[in-house]
Amino acid sequence: MTTSARDEVLRRIRTALGRTGGAAPQPSPVPRDYRTSLGQEPGAPGLLDLLVDRLVDYKATVHRCAPDAVGATVAAALAARGARRLAAPSGLPAGWLAAADVETVTDGAAQDGGALPVATLDAVDGVVTGCAVAVAQTGTIVLDSSPDCGRRALTLVPDYHLIVVRADQVVGSVPEALPRLDPDRPLTWVSGPSATSDIELDRVEGVHGPRTLVVVLVEG
Amino acid sequence: MRIALFATCLADAMFPRAAQATVVLLERLGHEVVFPSGQTCCGQMHVNTGYQREALPVVEHHVDVFETALRPRAQGGDGVEAVVAPSGSCVGSVRHQHAVVARRMAEQGRADTGLAARAEAVAAKTYELSELLVDVLGVTDVGARYPHRVTYHPTCHSLRMLRVDDKPLRLLRAVHGLDLVELPDAEQCCGFGGTFSVKNADTSTAMLADKIRAVQTTRSEVVTAGDSSCLMHIGGGLSRLRVGTKTVHLAEILAGEGWEAAL
């Protein structure tokens, strides 16, 4: 049944295109006259300012800090939130949570029982991760399920998500981000906290995904 | 310049002042206007209602008439350099629909395969009034005086089919004594749409109601546009509601107050 549907649909397409056998046409050239780059190196100060502007515009909270202050900045943000119990991916850099007065459950860690069940993720006060790349122009941060990002459920179920972004991960535009990503990995592009425009087409933040998005931008 | 006038069937039969003012204006600017008397209609109503087969002879006729007008006099033509029409949508039809109809009909074996190219050649020399003035003749101040409060409605086909952009506004701004008031939501369609106004009369009227409301907020004496058809629609609503605001074709304003004296 399925095979015949496949053959049938493919046959219909060829008929519709007026193609009777023969080789496939060559790909037609695509005019790519749009900007493929904002012309600034990853992490350039202008890009960092742009990223912060765009993140704040879509209601994310942003803290900027020097590399040696990540632990303190994360700790202060978590303390302000009143977060006590946090989830983290297995590859989170050691220093990031070192200064925070929190209990950490690590996803996929043997001592925490392997992959954290959804109920556990639903009960924690938040999650802290890194990211793969950030796009300044659109205020987007991409998670790619590498060890410091974790699997997708980890950053979805908790209501509070803190992402540490390193300056060298910040590129200008979408065309600059895609070549840095591996299509074989599950990817989540995050632009601000969860939101909806479904009521009178006006945007309000906070639906099913994390309602609070905090970004710690590490400069220098 | 020697210019052929395509009066358009609507202006010819119902709104002669738009075509007359075009003649008076161009003559005042020192150009010679000819009116190829064989002309009728661009066939747009037929095409836009789905009757392309019926439109074909009308299109063929239009191409014949204006091809002759554009031919040098030595070869039996009128030797005009350009064709002008006081209508964005009729020029839009000539420019964007004639060749399409010709090709479709040629595919069906109903039209000569050479018609599309001939239609394109005529279309390439056909201009809407503001295009002719600004782009071809290079004038924005036509030396007119029109001491009235006026608002301008950019008709959809001038705006989005021909992309006349702000040419009509530039011409209006240069008219002496004219108080130009911006029309809110100007780029919204007035709801005419040819047979749409009859086939979907309720929706058309709802669109017109909003256009009239916008016109009223400008407190203008006159609403102007480059298309007699849209003006007929807006004017039909203004008249029914006794709003008092008049509709005047762009050509009449550019011809200047008192232009009728030249008739």
Partner: protein, 516 residues
């Protein structure tokens, strides 16, 4: 179903009533226009989104270049569709996914139903699935088909949930509940949402919170999700879903089984092509630089450590359902380039006033007016019968041809030209069906033929103008207030000026007649 349109051997969609409404557009529109609350809601929502879109599109100085690239990529997809689909299938399969093909709605529904059943066991059958908003599954009537088999489909998108709770139908392709305002939504929640807080206010934030609370447990317990897809990358086998609320992420991440139903036209050839579409889509649809969440996955997704990450049972259903018939029409094919951003709806002066229900199809607005007739087929009646005739045949006429849709479309679909083309197809079909030797097919056809006969000769035309002069007798104070049908449709709301005393032609002959 048979049709006179399209190529022989290319069946149009098998319908479950999702494309062909009960009434023609003029009839349904008249009803909608009388609903003042609806008019207010639509006017407010569409003007809000138009302003937002204009702002973010204005931020990009290469918008036109992006549109040109988007259009070219889609044209390339259509030209190479068989090869690209096979490439997609290979890549999805190689990464642990399964690909199914469906000729029509019934076949697609059967495939999904079998997959849902297979996800359960005899002792523990699957009785509900969570759904991400998807036009394809709406088009095939999947929820109804699942319901007939005893499986509840829970819509998780906020607007879709509003529609589902109130047993309504969608009226917009992006925001199905655009016809409802906050007060109405509050009432729907109070009436239909179990365990809702009776103190619920109509603050959008509070309403969104209510939806979060209501769906939370459902998400965490879901075993099967059904989604659509915004894009599928042939080169990599990657699927992408673009959303806002996180309900998409929930469905695409937490259940063990994911079934994605996708029209065969949703393909993009290469990974790089996303750089165009991820810029075009969010700015055109919700008027954002980027939507809050975009999920991408390939086959049965794994983390970089090789651990499962999301549904390990992944099924992709590729749907024809009239698309190949659409593809067969060179002048109509462009409708398949649509990325369902809804920009054309939001700028359409007709849609803004009538809303989506008047179109009677899951695809309303300008794109619906060109896509629906091609997917469902036109029958050729209704050219001159606004109250009778086929609802689908009335759709290409539901436009003033103002062209705003083309300017807004991120992939430059020339909707106005396609409307004109479909009107011609409609008339040609009607003529072929109703041809009696010597008689035109309809009164409208007779009038059009007569007008064309007049218009191809200046002598006939000036003779007709003389007849028009008689109209002066109908005028009072220079205006005519009433004309007989069908022109009465004009004069019910608009005057007609009295014909002039002298036509232009006569004036010219009188004043300059010796000149040419």
């Amino acid at each position: 179903m048979t049709t006179f349109l399209g190529m022989p051997g290319l069946p149009v969609a098998t319908e479950r009533g999702t494309l062909r409404g009960p009434d023609t557009f003029p009839v349904a529109a008249r009803r909608a226009l009388a609903d003042t609350q609806l008019r207010k809601n639509l006017g407010h929502a569409t003007s809000t989104i138009r302003a937002k879109r204009a702002r973010v599109v204005g931020e990009l100085d290469d918008w036109e270049e992006l549109r040109a690239a988007g259009a070219a990529i889609k044209a390339d997809v259509m030209a190479r569709l068989p090869e690209l689909l096979v490439q997609l299938e290979e890549n999805v399969t190689a990464r642990g996914g399964h690909v199914h093909w469906a000729r029509d709605a019934d076949e697609a529904n059967r495939i999904v139903l079998d997959l849902v059943r297979a996800a359960g066991t005899p002792d523990d059958p699957v009785t509900s699935v969570v759904k991400v908003k998807s036009m394809a599954t709406q088009e095939i009537g999947l929820n109804e088909a699942l319901a007939e088999a005893g499986i509840a489909a829970v819509e998780t998108d906020l607007a879709e949930l509003i529609v589902q709770l109130s047993d309504d139908t969608p009226s917009h392709i992006l925001v199905p509940a655009i016809h409802r305002n906050r007060a109405e939504i509050r009432q729907i929640f109070l009436d239909h949402m179990p365990d809702v807080d009776p103190g619920l206010t109509d603050e959008p934030r509070v309403l969104a919170m209510a939806a979060r609370a209501y769906l939370r447990r459902t998400f965490l317990a879901a075993r099967v999700a059904v989604s659509g897809a915004n894009f599928a990358i042939a080169e990599t086998g990657t699927l992408a879903v673009v959303e806002s609320e996180g309900n998409g992420r929930m469905c695409l991440t937490l259940p063990q089984t994911l079934v994605t139903v996708m029209g065969i036209e949703k393909l993009l050839p290469t990974w790089r092509d996303l750089e165009v579409f991820l810029q075009l889509l969010p700015r055109s649809s919700t008027g954002e630089r980027m939507n809050p969440y975009t999920s991408m996955w390939t086959g049965a997704p794994r983390t970089s450590d090789g651990a499962p990450d999301g549904p390990q049972e992944f099924h992709l259903v590729l749907l024809d359902n009239g698309r190949t018939a659409t593809l067969a029409d060179e002048a109509g094919r462009q409708a398949l380039h649509c990325i369902r951003c809804s920009a054309c709806l939001n700028v359409c002066p007709v849609y803004e006033r009538t809303g989506g229900h008047a179109y009677g199809s899951v695809y309303p607005g300008p794109i619906g007016a060109v896509l629906t007739p091609q997917l469902a087929g036109m029958h050729g009646h209704g050219a001159d019968a606004p109250a009778g005739g086929d609802p689908v045949d009335s759709l290409p006429y539901a436009s003033s041809l103002c062209g705003a849709c083309f300017d807004a479309c991120p992939v430059r679909i020339d909707i106005p030209s396609m409307l004109v083309h479909l009107r011609a197809k409609h008339v040609e079909t009607a003529q072929a069906q109703r041809r009696v030797p010597g008689l035109p097919a309809s009164a409208e056809n007779a009038a059009m033929s007569a007008a064309a006969w007049v218009m191809q000769d200046a002598g006939r035309f000036s003779f007709a103008e003389r007849g028009l002069q008689l109209g002066r007798l109908l005028a009072r104070d220079g205006r005519i207030r009433s004309l007989p049908p069908p022109l009465s449709a004009w004069t019910t709301s608009r005057d007609v000026p009295a014909p002039p005393a002298e036509t232009f032609r006569k004036w010219w002959a009188r004043t300059r007649g010796d000149r040419s």
